[in-house]
Symmetry: C2
Subunit: 410 residues, 2 copies
Amino acid sequence: MNFHILTTKSVKEFLLTIPNIKEFFDDDILVSQEIGDGNLNFVFIVKSQKDPTKALIVKQAVPYLRCAGKDFPLSRQRMSFEIRALQNYAKLVPSLAPKIYYEDEEMSLVVMQYLSEHIIFRKGLMKSNYYDNFAEHISIFLAHTLFYTSSLYLDSSQKRHFMDNFNANRELCKLTEDFVFTFPYMEHETNFIDENCLNEAKIFFSKMQFKRSVLSLKYKFMSQSDALLHGDLHTGSIMVNKKETFVIDPEFAFFGPFGFDIGALIANLINAYISHFYESGDKAYQEWILQTIKEIFEKFELKFLTLWDAQNESALITPNFIDAKTLSEFKKDFMKKVFQDSIGYAGCKMARRVFGIAGVEEIRGLKDANKRKEANLRALKTSVKLIENYENIENLDELMDIITKVQKNS
Amino acid sequence: MNFHILTTKSVKEFLLTIPNIKEFFDDDILVSQEIGDGNLNFVFIVKSQKDPTKALIVKQAVPYLRCAGKDFPLSRQRMSFEIRALQNYAKLVPSLAPKIYYEDEEMSLVVMQYLSEHIIFRKGLMKSNYYDNFAEHISIFLAHTLFYTSSLYLDSSQKRHFMDNFNANRELCKLTEDFVFTFPYMEHETNFIDENCLNEAKIFFSKMQFKRSVLSLKYKFMSQSDALLHGDLHTGSIMVNKKETFVIDPEFAFFGPFGFDIGALIANLINAYISHFYESGDKAYQEWILQTIKEIFEKFELKFLTLWDAQNESALITPNFIDAKTLSEFKKDFMKKVFQDSIGYAGCKMARRVFGIAGVEEIRGLKDANKRKEANLRALKTSVKLIENYENIENLDELMDIITKVQKNS
């Protein structure tokens, strides 16, 4: 169907033209509501009037930045990459992504499962909710989506074919290059600097050795095509309840370095950890967050290596090329580099939230100005330590030391 | 025009349908001859009967491996990548690549300048010819083609657009992955092992730490998209005379690591250096080769950095992000990594010539069996030292020490 922008009214008519969705709703009368997902897209929830538990989500990209209006064009092609990434999740991690009922690249539109019993993970973390299955679930997500789209699993031709489907996601890669790796570390009109931190921002923007490391991480982000990334895996891109975990919104999907998604997730968990010093003061909950960070790394590495060990042949590995002992040493080195890169990217993903355009609610939303300042500065110090040291951090204990021992004035 | 395979007869008729070529030859009667370029393609020379200096080269890819016949299919799409790379050279390094008169991706065909006064660089090296402009020319080629197709020059979107044109060169990348990074280091039916070296091959195939380093270099080859590479820049892909240098045959072109083309070239120069111990014994000529290797590295780095210093904005660099001193340190680190990777790739490109399917004429072609064995083993030892040490080689003197001090029994 030719592209046209749906409204609360037309979305219902549109859905009923799709056979499996008509079947889903039977002959029920539909009600629809626009709920928005924040900044970029139109999102509708469409429900059965008589049984509101029968509901679907419709997400449509429009050729501009929804929150800013038509004067801020952004290609709606971004939805094609989201659709392709979701199709990939449906194959690789079906229990960890919303079920897709219909997708239409021409209409820049996807219809998916309504997660009525789940909340955004960031909100859950702010409420001090415990999610004891989360580390297990997300480590499956990370290990499976990264391993199965890499040269450690695919053959050479499959990998390059796969990349072809995402290489055109240029605009959103550029957003990351600018808003994660560049503008938040310099004077820039898009930044948001808390008036309590003007001096600290000035000092931060002058940390040249820190920026040299950021430049290395940015270069690797732009040039290293390890695996298909989600590309924006913060705690707002994850929905949870006690039992289940769902990853949503992969519109930034592209082939990039292994460490980037892991780093994004860890950064946002560290921000949650920091925020609780100033909001709840709940030490037990903070301990749970730290434990979750450790478990994610441990479980990810174990699962990733298990998948790798089961794969005797790939673009990289030819049977009988190398003996088992040496291959095992190679893998150990390889995983250590992924671990260290993850820490570097966690540092960038934390730092960009301090003075960059997009803050995190749990810190930028702190009402008390002094607490907000202290939380910001603690996040900043942590990120600087992560980025300055990531290539030399040998194990999880050293990482945990940095996260827990940074003081706002250290 | 729909694809059809040209013959010595039909190539003349075909050329005269192309206006600028008809103009080139005026109304002259044409004579044509198939000359072949070795393994993959059909190559014709078409000349004016009355003035044989008026001549053009026609190169056509066929959907199989020419030397092996129709039972060995190979996509003729490879010519599209050669055409695109040649178009790129015409813009970036017009004096270092043959002039293109006509290109036709549909016909998998390119018509180009006939280099009548030049010989294949490998042949010139075997004849102990001096080419005192070569280091200057090839360093321009390397610096310009690598810099101008990288994220250090292009903006983010341009770089990804550019990559789209080469990402489908899957088959030829796979050939490199197999025949440069895998088969020559293990028992494999495609290998060619001199009967004098059976025992040495066995020992070589068991060097596991060496293979671990090869695996790292292979992984980087597959996953790091720094710049548009020639992809097969050995001394047989270069034509020279005392005044000029031309790079030909870029059908392996794709986006890969900076060090790969430089390494390929250096490897073949080291092979030439080694061969002269056993063929000419001409120490002065060997000294010239060593000097040429040094100059290539020095001139490449200088030229690359000069281009980089002139570029204030790119996918990587945003003006005012970082101060000049720190950026200069970043560039120094960056160039050192490129230097070290080049040495690693030189090691692979040398080692694959010893027992792999494709030897080099100057060594595999040595008639005296003992000399051939000694040359092979010296090349092997050198390549092992390069690969085992590449990440720790700090400067050109250390590299030269390895090349000159390796003994066949060291």
